[in-house]
């Protein structure tokens, strides 16, 4: 060590300490969740779970999911260019799950979809509005929560029509910047207006945009809605939850 290095070293250590401290202040894990009054059906096979979900799903219902484990998420996404590097994948998985998702709530759902009928789901992901299917892989590799929106049939039809329109036009962008600010606002309870672009959203604010005639959280504009806001909203009822121990179902 020569010259200014020892003092610089202390400054750099101080920077490390400060960044660690701020990360814990802004993005600490939350442990608050509501007890659901559902019947426990026990562990079901993938096929049985899929059939139960499809039998109970109606157009306009909302599906929340989180990967069961690192390996199941890797197996599902290894075909994607972005995730071909295992080193990048490992860092992304842990940062996303442990810092972003857990700082919003205990249950930690990663992504949110709208069911548009005929086994088809829509969601806003990193590469725009995407269409998917509820297949065995989806049920087997994810823990799911199915929510029914307490609103009129017209509002549900409008939401699906909007989703079809945005899927065709692709005029909604997925924005990582807005995602980080939304998580920060949710995690710290900050109610400042950050001037977020109305067309640059994340998965949960996209669902809030589709259902813009109702509000999942009256205190917030749809651009600030997080998966936890939808999950804990008064305008939704939980009908099915799949967990490690088995399936919970509202009879």
């Amino acid at each position: 060590m020569i010259g200014k290095e020892p003092t610089n070293f202390m400054k750099l250590l101080f920077l490390l300490f400060i960044t660690l401290l701020l990360t814990f202040i802004f993005f600490y894990p939350k442990f608050e969740f509501e007890e659901e009054e559902l019947t426990f059906l026990g562990p079901l096979s993938t096929e049985e779970t899929k059939n139960l979900i499809l039998d109970n799903l109606e157009e306009g219902d909302i599906i929340l999911n989180r990967p069961q484990s690192f390996s199941s998420y890797y197996m599902q996404n290894k075909q994607q260019k972005l995730f071909k590097n295992i080193f990048f994948f490992f860092s992304y998985y842990n940062l996303f799950d442990k810092i972003f998702i857990r700082s919003m709530g205990e249950e930690g759902y990663w992504h949110i979809y709208i069911y548009k009928g005929n086994n088809t789901i829509h969601s806003l992901s990193l590469l725009g509005v995407e269409e998917g299917k509820i297949d065995n892989d989806f049920v087997e590799n994810n823990y799911l929560k199915i929510l029914k929106v307490n609103t009129t049939k017209e509002n549900k039809i409008k939401a699906i029509e909007r989703s079809n329109y945005y899927f065709e036009s692709q005029e909604i962008y997925y924005s990582l910047k807005n995602g980080l600010i939304i998580v920060f606002a949710k995690s710290t309870g900050a109610n400042y207006i950050f001037h977020l672009d109305k067309q640059k959203l994340v998965c949960s604010s996209y669902i809030a945009l589709l259902y813009k005639d109702i509000s999942f959280n009256l205190k917030k504009d749809y651009t600030y809605i997080t998966p936890t806001d939808i999950e804990n909203s008064d305008v939704v009822d939980t009908i099915i939850i799949t967990k490690k121990e088995g399936v919970y179902y509202e009879r």
Partner: protein, 84 residues
């Protein structure tokens, strides 16, 4: 023993120093990321929310990348010392 200690401190110093630039670049690039129609775009328009998001990304990335790079560097040095 003293020499080894100095080497580890030098290693930590270098990682802490270069990690500032690395974290900042990764933060700016990832925050600028926007996707639609199966394409990922980068929008570098500087606004107050962009600066806030880069700051938030930096405070998350700086310690995470430091511990990651340090662990990898430490393992590499340990293996190299044993081989030699």
């Amino acid at each position: 023993m003293k020499g080894k200690k100095t080497n580890i401190i030098k290693l930590i110093y270098k990682i802490l120093y270069y990690n500032i630039f690395l974290s900042l670049i990764v933060a700016i690039i990832s925050i600028a990321g926007e996707g639609t129609n199966n394409f990922l775009y980068f929008n570098f328009t500087i606004t107050s929310s962009f600066i806030l998001a880069v700051f938030l990304a930096f405070i998350i990335l700086y310690p995470s990348l430091f511990f990651l790079i340090y662990t990898i560097a430490y393992i590499i040095f340990k293996i190299r010392d044993k081989v030699i």
